[in-house]
Symmetry: C2
Subunit: 339 residues, 2 copies
């Protein structure tokens, strides 16, 4: 089961409900746009690549459900659907990218049946390409891992963030597929605990040995020589820095202090060819994320909070960036990734 996929039998979008993990594994079927939008909004599906597929499948779903029998009405219905989907998470760039790619593709159709066929096949292509990119990226990255390595990772750059395979965890999976013994140390990743909830769960599902630590233990495990390499994902890569889940920067500094290579696994689509560290505004998230944990109060209810969604790690801390186009070692010209 992919994180998200088309169920041809019922013409529905099927996904793993990530809000219930790791306590419960449940697959849900989105039969209409309202259900899909609720799933995106509630983070039942999350992670940039998975959201691209969710957006794309949303347009395919809308095309199946529309009763329009002329092209103009059908295209109007799809544009409405696009607006509704985009409103669920307005800052999720990949969601919009998936939606718009399908909308653009259907403009080539000659009739309503063509629109419906192309919408689905384009959404399928987006999902399949994501898996293919991750597998290629994983194979490149696996060449950096040796039999017996322990890899520390942060957050969830795994198959649950993608359609399948994963980026940072895709590298681990590819190395395991090559017959290498790889152990993983997963950092909990406060405040939303994607490492503790999702990375641990998906690796245990695949029987890849994993141990959980709190984010503050990365120095301890490195000083005790329990880590050979660090691999994390990325939300955005500029010429001078890598933006990723808050906490990544700490691990990068601590890894360099222990002379442990720090790798970033990121598809070429993550590269921002025009941006630089100072040009990216870091979003502040809801302070209640640090005051409550699944509804339980864990800090004074009115304590002021600093809660950036991500941080930036300057390129000098990074040993290499693993992409589907190969491995890039800083300093590199960002345009090399484009070609």
């Amino acid at each position: 089961m992919r994180t998200i996929q088309w169920n041809a039998e019922n013409s529905t979008v099927r996904m793993i409900d990530q809000t219930l993990l790791p306590v419960e594994y449940r697959e849900i079927e989105c039969e209409n746009l309202a259900q899909l939008c609720e799933a995106i909004k509630s983070l039942r599906v999350r992670g940039a690549p998975a959201l691209a597929a969710a957006g794309a499948y949303g347009i395919a779903l809308a095309s199946k459900l529309s009763s329009a029998n002329d092209m103009e009405s059908l295209l109007e219905d799809l544009k409405n659907a696009a607006r509704i989907i985009l409103a669920t998470r307005p800052t999720a760039i990949n969601l919009g990218w998936g939606v718009h790619r399908v909308i653009k593709a259907v403009s080539e159709a000659y009739d309503t049946a063509g629109i419906r066929d192309i919408a689905l096949s384009e959404a399928q292509a987006i999902a399949d390409e994501d898996v293919q990119i991750n597998k290629t990226l994983g194979k490149h990255g696996a060449s950096l891992l040796e039999d017996g390595d322990t890899v520390m990772t942060h957050c969830n750059a795994g198959r649950l963030a993608c359609v399948d395979w994963g980026t940072a965890l895709g590298v681990v999976r590819s190395a395991v597929e090559q017959g290498k013994d790889i152990n993983v140390i997963a950092c909990e990743t406060r405040p939303l605990n994607q490492g503790g909830r999702l990375t641990t769960w998906e690796l245990m599902q695949d029987n890849i040995p994993v141990k959980l630590i709190s984010d503050s233990m990365s120095g301890y495990v490195m000083r005790h020589e329990l880590v050979d390499k660090v691999i994390v994902g990325a939300d955005r890569v500029t010429e001078d820095a890598v933006f990723n889940k808050i906490g990544t920067y700490n691990h990068a500094i601590v890894a360099m202090e222990h002379e442990i290579p720090f790798y970033v696994a990121a598809p070429a689509s993550t590269f921002d060819f025009k941006g630089w560290e100072g040009s990216v505004k870091i979003e502040e998230r809801d302070p209640d994320e640090l005051r409550y944990m699944q509804g339980v109060q864990i800090a004074p209810e009115d304590v002021p909070v600093i809660n950036p969604a991500f941080d930036s790690t300057p390129m000098e801390y990074i040993e290499a960036i693993i992409t589907e186009k190969g491995i890039f070692r800083p300093p590199f010209l960002i345009d090399e990734v484009r070609t």
Copy 2:
């Protein structure tokens, strides 16, 4: 109200129940040894200096409650009480130190009334000395803080860990008392969240401005120039390293990378004159601390966990150690602290 104190009116030990903070402030009265032991075991009172007072008051309480009317029986009752108290937290060195200091003091008594008087006055002396030491330490440390400084701290080295005033937070309080504007950034301190629950609470009580971050955000706040100094407490100081709550080492490395001074506030009683980094065994705590949060499951129930109680920070990361005997800058001879 001190963290723990003798209630002369009822001959009881009164304390702040720290397990309920920050959701509820409640003072509890321990009327007998069983209640006191339950409070120690359940961490209603915690922190090395506060435990020394708790142990000492426990013997005073036992002396009041004993019906013995000859010295031999009364001393026997106190030795039994000592055994019962020590069994609550066998690895808490300060608990034993407080108990034994009172037991030793009462051996100077001439009659049962003398034993009872000395037990209480020695316990009071232990509590009062703790406050005095922290105030002296705080005054020394305050000389390092400038008006307008923001101090980052980890865990709770505050008045709730002591009888009053605190060590790391005692330095902040002394600086504020001198009229300096000091802001604090409190790191949450996973997995038991003493920073999020207790440090925030006690500073808010004193109207000292505090902001909460997750442990993984220390690099972010330093890179954004939001921190002037770091001050933490210590569980043990050897010639070559400082042992403190897990996560301290990460902050020390990250602070050095940003050229931010990293201070340790620790009374001379924390110094281990014979030990060195490699000689101290770091206790592994219950893995469920990372799998559950106040009863709520936050990771797979069977995920393997690494959960060291503390870490060691080599002396080269430390700008100075603040004690009641003055400020010591590494490299220093540990024997200088003794004299």
